[in-house]
Amino acid sequence: MSTSRGHELPTVTPFFADKQDLLARILSRYPDYGRRSAVMPLLWEVQRAERHVSRARVDEIAEILGLHATEVKGVMSFYSTYHEHPVGAYHLQVCRTLSCSLAGADELAAFLEEELDLVNGETDAEGRFSLQFVECLGSCGTAPVLQVNDSYFERVSRSRCRALLDAMRRDALPAPTVERGGDNEVVRVEGADRSATGEAGEGDRA
């Protein structure tokens, strides 16, 4: 329901208002009858730029794609990588599935909880750290694994973790510890750069 009162509730500038090129490029990937498929890339653009997808953005995406907001929310809530509330500048995700658990992930999790004074799912008041326990990150050979934003830090011992936290508090996140070579390396370094400076990657990465 729109209201036309003199005092209007603050409105949010549409996210894609000044990104028409990007929007057109994303939509061009899908045929007209499959326009709704663009919901994932659009959500991802918003999530990357704003570290969460607010209700206003959900409505905006629904409007763009001609869907109901409920459907966008349904897709968004299915994936744990989209957030309803902003996550911190450093989103710490601790794998606690079997291999990591055997290698000390539970102790790592307890250490982080104590060190950051956060419990699973919380973000600190400053907006610097978010802590989340997740299931297998697929790096079982190098357990325990800590994912910071988009990069993996492997074989994270207590001392290494403390050093990492100190670095992040100085906003000087080091390059991730690389144990496996191959194409992972390139992606990880790129991801680390982006999260270290806190900038959102813009444009189409396809």
Binding site: T3, R5, H7, L9, V58, H68, A69, T70, S77
Partner: protein, 809 residues
């Protein structure tokens, strides 16, 4: 296809699902996610069975079992969900072996893992699919020793529907329903895995068809808020009847308990409403149990009313009538009266000797089209032209139109009824929007689904229809009235002409004008379309064909009110909102009002007789397609209330006459002669019975058509009872005056303001709703039985604020 189910062999059409084969063979498998008229998805895995089929070798010969010489049956390696498997030649289905029973037991146990088992306090208890299936197919014990999932127990999805998230078993029926049936995707699964729940971001579920999810929910998760905690299922009396809320003839089941209607559920009529009804029909019953209902006749003594017996009331009326000339008496009944009541009204008029008998609301033009269509025709049409706002006027049509866009014809029925799994239906089926053209004087809901929406000016339907007819006939059209380019109009006309079946739905805006109705008939003829004409109330078509009509146009309902009658009997009508009419009614020598409540008109009456609602009558109604349907009375405590046959009985007795319409039975004797069949023998599905157009020679239309820039628009709810339907009122809000935001600014009107405003001179209290769907310069106000759909004058400059909407600081 020859299929063998356990020990029984049967022959089935290709494309049949295995679950229907099992039921057709007389066996049973449990299922939760499949639902008649919706796509099978195989989500709940309850309908597992062992399925095998013969195979062919490379040369196309059946592989033969050496021992028997018969084709060898190869069983699938795992159990198959029968709802998503299609029958094959020579298929063998096993639903009775130990493996199958074990699999089904396992699924019941799994489904019950997170189910709270709060059956003793659950409204679904006793009529619950999960309860039944757990009893029939479960083990009776659980090995799940851990904590069950805890979720919200009383989540109001809207004012009308309450969701219990713990009871939900994630069958996805409700989510699929909204996508597949009304096409309003307002409900979805949120989260995933063990955390999944049903939720919405659309506040209050904006759709006219939300209540159906309470019927199809296999557990007690989705509940009708009007009936929550009102009774147990085994206490209800179920009355299978036909809704008199609109002219669709929708089948309903009235559940009453201790003399009160507690809920209304959808009945099944495959050729009419399938298994769906709109929220107006489902939730609009609370008025029938209103404590202010009249229970005994009232007689005026001075300024006050006194309760009286029916005999006293009848004696008073016959005495007063004795002093009057018969032809000065007018009898008007509301157009949702049954055929039997119509016969009673006619018999009474004959006794009194008056030609002033009519039903209202009634449009001028006949409701029997020259080339009529049925609802099945509409659902299988390849071109649909809609004139008006059917989603509000007759919501059942809206759903049948959406069937036509899917292009899946109604399924053939089995002995066990509608196919449980119709494999032609899929999730997210493409809709052929280009088949649908919607024409209305404002943006209506159905336009979202239309290939060609056309917004015409108020009263501009006749001109548009005329212009399109000109295009069809190859003459020069008035291009300004087309609302589109000439080439596009020609394309549309060609599409309608070439369609294998074209149906035109004509709503109230067109029927309100004789000129527009003629133009619609001419266009339908020019493009070869058949027509469905939407009556203003449930039995408009029936009362027309049984001739509950005045002997002369000037004796119609408007004429009676304007002064042609000195004494009036009004059944269900309330014209006193208009001050001039109220003054004339006050001056009547005799005013008898037969109604449910002490309405404004009843307050002016000499005698008030208690009436029955549409849920309490026995009788017959005729739907818009000409289908004769039975109406049956639910056991409701209504005091001494009578329908019109009861009124005529006591009046006849007071005159010492046994009238033909003195009871439903005697009225049916008359109808049997007139119709050629006995209405008492109608079954629930009704009878399509074509009667010739039987209009007497006189034109019985209103003498002059309404004018004005505003419109009285149809609403799904019955405005006259909205105030007495608290749930529906809370969900949909008070009666609204809708207008464009830019128009509102000039009159200091804001969204949500409550105002008093004159509509055609009668005072109305309305809530302001601002909407871009309304064109500039147009106001939309609700239509009522006494002021039916059509044009009106709304004096916006005389608006008085009753209550302003809350200021947002």
């Amino acid at each position: 296809m020859r299929v063998k189910v356990n020990d029984r062999e049967l022959e089935l059409a290709p494309g049949t699902s295995v679950i229907d084969a099992v039921f057709a063979a007389g066996y049973d498998v449990p299922y939760f996610c499949s639902q008649a008229y919706m796509s099978p998805i195989g989500a709940c895995r309850m309908c597992l069975a062992r399925i095998g089929a013969p195979r062919k070798d490379r040369d196309g010969n059946w592989l033969v079992d050496d021992a028997t010489g018969e084709p060898k049956v190869f069983f699938f390696p795992t159990m198959m969900a029968t709802c998503t498997t299609v029958v094959m030649e020579g298929m063998v289905v096993d639903t009775l072996s130990k493996e199958v029973k074990d699999a089904q037991r396992g699924m019941v146990e799994f489904t019950l893992i997170n189910h709270p088992l709060d059956c003793p306090v659950c409204d679904k208890g006793g009529a619950c699919e999960l309860q039944d299936r757990a009893y029939e197919y479960g083990t009776g014990r659980s090995r799940f020793v851990f904590d069950k999932r805890h979720q919200e127990k009383h989540h109001p999805l809207s004012e009308l529907i309450t969701l219990d998230r713990e009871r939900c078993i994630h069958c996805k029926r409700c989510v699929r329903y909204f996508e597949e049936v009304p096409g309003d995707e307002v409900l979805d699964f949120i989260e995933r895995g063990g955390h999944t729940y049903i939720g919405t971001l659309e506040e209050g579920l904006p759709s006219n068809f939300t209540g159906n999810i309470t019927d199809i929910c296999p557990v007690g998760a989705l509940l009708d808020a009007t009936s929550r905690f009102r009774g147990r299922n085994w206490e209800y009396d179920h009355t299978f009847t036909t809704s008199l809320d609109d002219a669709s003839g929708s089948a309903i089941v009235i559940d009453a308990r201790t003399g009160r209607i507690e809920r209304i559920k959808s009945g099944i009529n495959p050729e009419v409403n399938k298994s769906w009804i709109d929220d107006g029909i489902r939730f609009g019953h609370e008025y029938a149990g209103d404590p202010e209902r009249l229970r005994r006749p009232l007689l005026r003594r001075g300024d006050a009313f006194e309760e009286a017996s029916w005999d006293e009331a009848a004696a008073f009326i016959s005495e007063r009538l004795g002093g009057l000339s018969g032809k000065d008496v007018g009898i008007a009944i509301r157009a949702d009266a049954t055929l039997e009541e119509g016969v009673a009204a006619r018999a009474l008029a004959e006794l009194i000797g008056t030609g002033q008998v009519d039903h209202a609301p009634r449009h001028g033009p006949s409701l029997v089209p020259v080339h009529g269509a049925t609802l099945q025709d509409l659902a299988t049409a390849t071109a649909v032209i809609v004139l008006g706002d059917v989603t509000e006027e007759l919501p059942a049509l809206d759903l049948r139109i959406k069937d036509a866009l899917k292009g899946v014809s109604p399924p053939p029925l089995f002995a066990h009824g509608v196919p449980i799994a119709d494999l032609r239906l899929k999730e997210r089926m493409p809709r052929a929007r280009e088949r649908l053209t919607v024409v209305a004087p404002y943006r209506v809901g159905l336009m979202q689904h239309a290939g060609r929406p056309v917004v015409v000016p108020v009263g501009g339907e006749a001109a548009w229809l005329q212009a399109m007819t000109d295009v069809a006939n190859g003459t020069d059209p008035d291009e300004g009235a087309l609302g589109m380019g000439r080439a596009e109009a020609q394309g549309l006309v060609r599409q309608w002409r070439e369609a294998s079946k074209a149906v035109m739905v004509v709503g109230g805006f067109v029927l309100a004008s004789a000129k527009a109705t003629d133009a619609a008939a001419a266009l339908a003829k020019a493009v070869g379309a058949s027509q469905l004409l939407v009556p203003p109330m449930a039995n408009g078509r029936g009362l027309e064909i049984t001739q509950v009509l005045p002997s002369h146009a000037r004796y119609d309902y408007r004429g009676m009110l304007a002064g042609s009658a000195k004494a009036l009997l009004l059944s269900g009508l309330d014209p006193a909102r208009d001050p001039a009419t109220a003054a004339r009614l006050g001056a009547c020598e005799l005013l008898v009002v037969h109604d449910l409540f002490l309405t404004d008109t009843a307050k002016l009456a000499h005698v008030v007789l208690p009436g029955k609602s549409g849920y309490e009558k026995d009788g017959t109604t005729v739907s818009l397609e000409g289908r004769f349907l039975p109406v049956r009375a639910a056991p409701v405590d209504n005091g001494e209330a009578e329908d019109l046959t009861g009124v005529v009985k006591v009046l006849g007795e007071a005159f010492g006459k046994r009238l033909e319409g003195r009871s439903v039975r005697s009225a049916r004797r008359v109808l049997r002669k007139e119709l050629g069949f006995d209405p008492a023998e109608l079954d629930r599905l009704g009878l399509l019975h074509d009667l010739p157009r039987r209009r007497s020679g006189v034109s019985v239309g209103p003498r002059q058509e309404a004018t004005g820039a505003a419109l009285r628009v149809p609403t799904m709810v019955r405005p006259e009872y909205l105030a007495r339907n608290p749930r529906l009122r809370a969900a949909l809000g008070d009666l609204a005056l809708r207008l464009h935001p830019a128009d509102a600014a000039g009159h200091d009107l804001h969204d949500g303001d409550e105002v008093r405003v004159p509509v055609d001179g009668a005072p109305w209290r309305l809530r302001i709703v601002l909407s871009e769907a309304v064109p500039r310069g147009v106001c939309l106000v609700p239509a009522t039985p006494d002021a039916p759909v059509g044009r009106a004058h709304v004096a916006l400059e005389q608006v008085v604020h009753e209550r302003r909407a809350l200021e947002v600081a």
